[in-house]
C-alpha cells in the first residue's frame, strides 16, 4: 500500500490543492501559450503557485503538467520535451512540498480512440513517457484527471502502474444530464467508472472539474453505492464561469465551497481539493473545515 492511501486507510481526510490552469492565467499565461513550458521558462512563477497551496495547508499538491503528453505538447512544437518538462514540473512542486506529497498531473490527450485518431499503443506510450518524467522529478503519485473516456483512463492508469513505482490515482469529469444522472462527455457514469478503473490499477478514484461542488455530493454517493472501500477524491470547480468585462470569473466563494465540505465528507470522500477557479483561499477554508475549526 502506498503512503497516501495508507493515511486514508487510517481514517485521515486529506486536503489537496486548488486550480493551476486558472492560476497560471492570472500570473500572465496568455491564451495560446503552452502552460507546461513555464516549467522551464518561469520556474519561479510555477513554484509560487505550488508554494501558495502548501502555505494554505495542502497535504498534497499537483504539478504543472496537465497537458504534458506528447499529443498536447506537439501542438506547441514541444513534442520532444515531454520528459524534461514533466520532470521539471515535479521538481518544482517537490521543492515547495517538503514533506507533503506531490501528485503528478496527467490530463487527457484530446485524441479519440474510437475515431481512429490514435491506437491504444500510442496512447499507452505517451502516458508512460509522461509518467516516467514525473517520477524522475520526484512525484509521489500520478493524478490522472479530467478523463471522459474509460479506455483512455484505463490506458493511462496501466501505463503509470506498469512503468513507475508511484501510487496511481484517477478522476473523471461528470456533468448532470437532463434526467438528473451524471455522465461524462463520452457517456460514462460514475458507476461505469468504478470497476473499470479499479481493475486497471487505480488506488484512489473520484471526480474533478464539472459544474461546482454541489454536484460532487451526488457523484460521491453514486461511487460509494458500488464500492465502500476505495479511497475517493473530489476536485471541484468554483462553479460555472461567468463572463464579466472581458474576464471570466468563477462564482463560488471559499465560504460557499467550505459550507459543502461536511456533506462531501459524509457522502464518503477521503481527499478534497479544488479545480478550475479555486484559489489558496478556497483551500485554506477547506483545511479549516477538515481540521474542525
Amino acid at each position: 500500500m502506498g503512503k497516501i492511501v495508507e493515511l486514508i486507510k487510517r481514517g485521515e481526510i486529506l486536503v489537496s490543492d486548488g486550480a493551476w490552469g486558472t492560476f497560471l492565467q492570472q500570473m500572465g499565461l496568455q491564451p495560446g501559450e503552452c502552460p507546461e513550458e513555464w516549467n522551464s521558462k518561469y520556474p519561479e512563477k510555477v513554484l509560487e503557485i505550488a508554494q501558495s497551496y502548501i502555505d494554505a495547508g495542502s497535504d498534497l499538491i499537483e504539478t504543472n503538467s496537465f497537458g504534458g503528453t506528447r499529443f498536447k505538447l506537439e501542438k506547441y512544437g514541444l513534442g520532444d520535451k515531454v520528459f524534461e518538462l514533466n520532470k521539471a514540473a515535479a521538481e518544482i512542486s517537490r521543492k515547495a512540498a517538503g514533506d507533503k506529497f506531490v501528485l503528478g498531473s496527467v490530463g487527457p490527450t484530446g485524441k479519440i480512440l474510437m475515431m481512429g485518431d490514435v491506437t491504444e499503443e500510442e496512447l499507452y506510450d505517451a502516458f508512460k513517457e509522461q509518467a516516467k518524467g514525473l517520477e524522475a522529478g520526484g512525484a509521489d503519485a500520478i493524478m490522472i484527471e479530467t478523463m471522459t473516456d474509460l479506455d483512455e483512463a484505463r490506458l493511462a492508469i496501466r501505463a503509470a502502474k506498469e512503468n513507475t513505482k508511484m501510487e496511481v490515482f484517477c478522476t473523471m469529469t461528470f456533468e448532470k444530464t437532463v434526467d438528473g444522472t451524471f455522465r461524462s462527455m463520452m457517456g460514462v457514469s460514475p458507476t461505469d467508472m468504478v470497476t473499470t478503473i479499479i481493475d486497471a490499477g487505480a488506488e484512489l478514484i473520484g471526480a474533478n472539474c464539472g459544474n461546482g461542488i454541489a454536484n460532487m455530493i451526488g457523484i460521491v454517493e453514486e461511487i460509494r453505492r458500488i464500492n465502500k472501500d476505495i479511497p475517493v477524491l473530489v476536485h471541484a470547480n468554483a462553479g460555472m464561469p461567468v463572463y464579466k468585462d472581458g474576464e471570466t470569473v468563477f462564482p463560488e466563494s471559499p465560504e460557499e465551497m467550505a459550507m459543502l465540505i461536511p456533506k462531501i465528507i459524509s457522502a464518503g470522500a477521503n481527499m478534497i481539493g479544488g479545480c478550475c477557479g479555486t484559489t489558496p483561499e478556497h483551500i485554506q477554508k477547506v483545511r479549516e473545515i477538515v481540521d474542525g475549526k
Binding site: 486558472t22 492565467q25 496568455q30 491564451p31 495560446g32 498536447k72 501542438k75 484530446g110 479519440i112 474510437m114 475515431m115 471522459t148 444530464t177 437532463v178 434526467d179 455522465r183 461524462s184 462527455m185 463520452m186 457517456g187 460555472m240 464561469p241 463572463y243 472581458g246 474576464e247 471570466t248 478550475c276
Partner: protein
Amino acid sequence: MSDLLTKISDCIEFGKINKAAPYPPQMKDMDGTDELTRQALDSGISAQKILSEGLMPGMEKVGVKFRENKVFVPQVLMSAKAMSTALLHLKPYFLTGEVKQKGTLIIGTVEGDLHDIGKNLVSMMVEGNGWKVVDLGTDVSADKFVEALRENENAIVGLSALLTTTMVSMERITKAIKEAMPFAKIAVGGAPVNDDFRQRIGADAYSPDPQGLVEYLNSLVA
C-alpha cells in the same frame, strides 16, 4: 425505393457504416450506409433525394437524441462516420452541382484555443444536415475568418471555444468580423459560452448543442 432511404436514415441514426462494421451490435451483418447509398444511386434515386430524405433525417434524429442526453459523443461520432461514408458516394454530385447544399458554414476554434473535439462534432452534424462546411481548424485568427468570409460570400461563421480564457478571443474575433463585414452572421458555442455572453459580444446565435446550431442555420435559409 423509399425503403432504402429509411434504411439509410436508420444507419445514420445508429452509426452503421458498412456490412463488416461490428457497431452497433443490433445491426450486425446488415448493410451499412456504404452499401445502401450505392444501392440507392444504382436504383436511380437522385443524390439530392438521398441527402435530404436519407442522411438528413438520420442526422436530425441523432442531433435531437444528443441534445436530450439519450446518446453521448461516441454514438454521435459513429453516426458521423456513417454519414461521411455515405457522402463519399454523393461527392461527385456535389461537384457537378447536381446536389445543392443549403449554404456554407465557416467554422473554427478561436485564436489561442487548440481544442477541436466540439468543433469537429458540430462540423459533422452541420455537414450531415446538407450544409457545406469550411473548417479553418483551431487557433484561428480574426483575419483568417474574414478572409474565408470574403472567399465564401453569404457564409455563416461558427466560433468555438473550450477555455474560459479564450472567450476573450471570441469577443475580439466577433467584433473584428462585424467591423469588416457588418452583415455577417456569427454563431458561438463551447463549454464556457452561454446566451448572455453571446449577447454581450454581439454575436447572432448561441446553442448549447450542435442540433440547435443546425436549426438556426436552417432558419436562415428557410
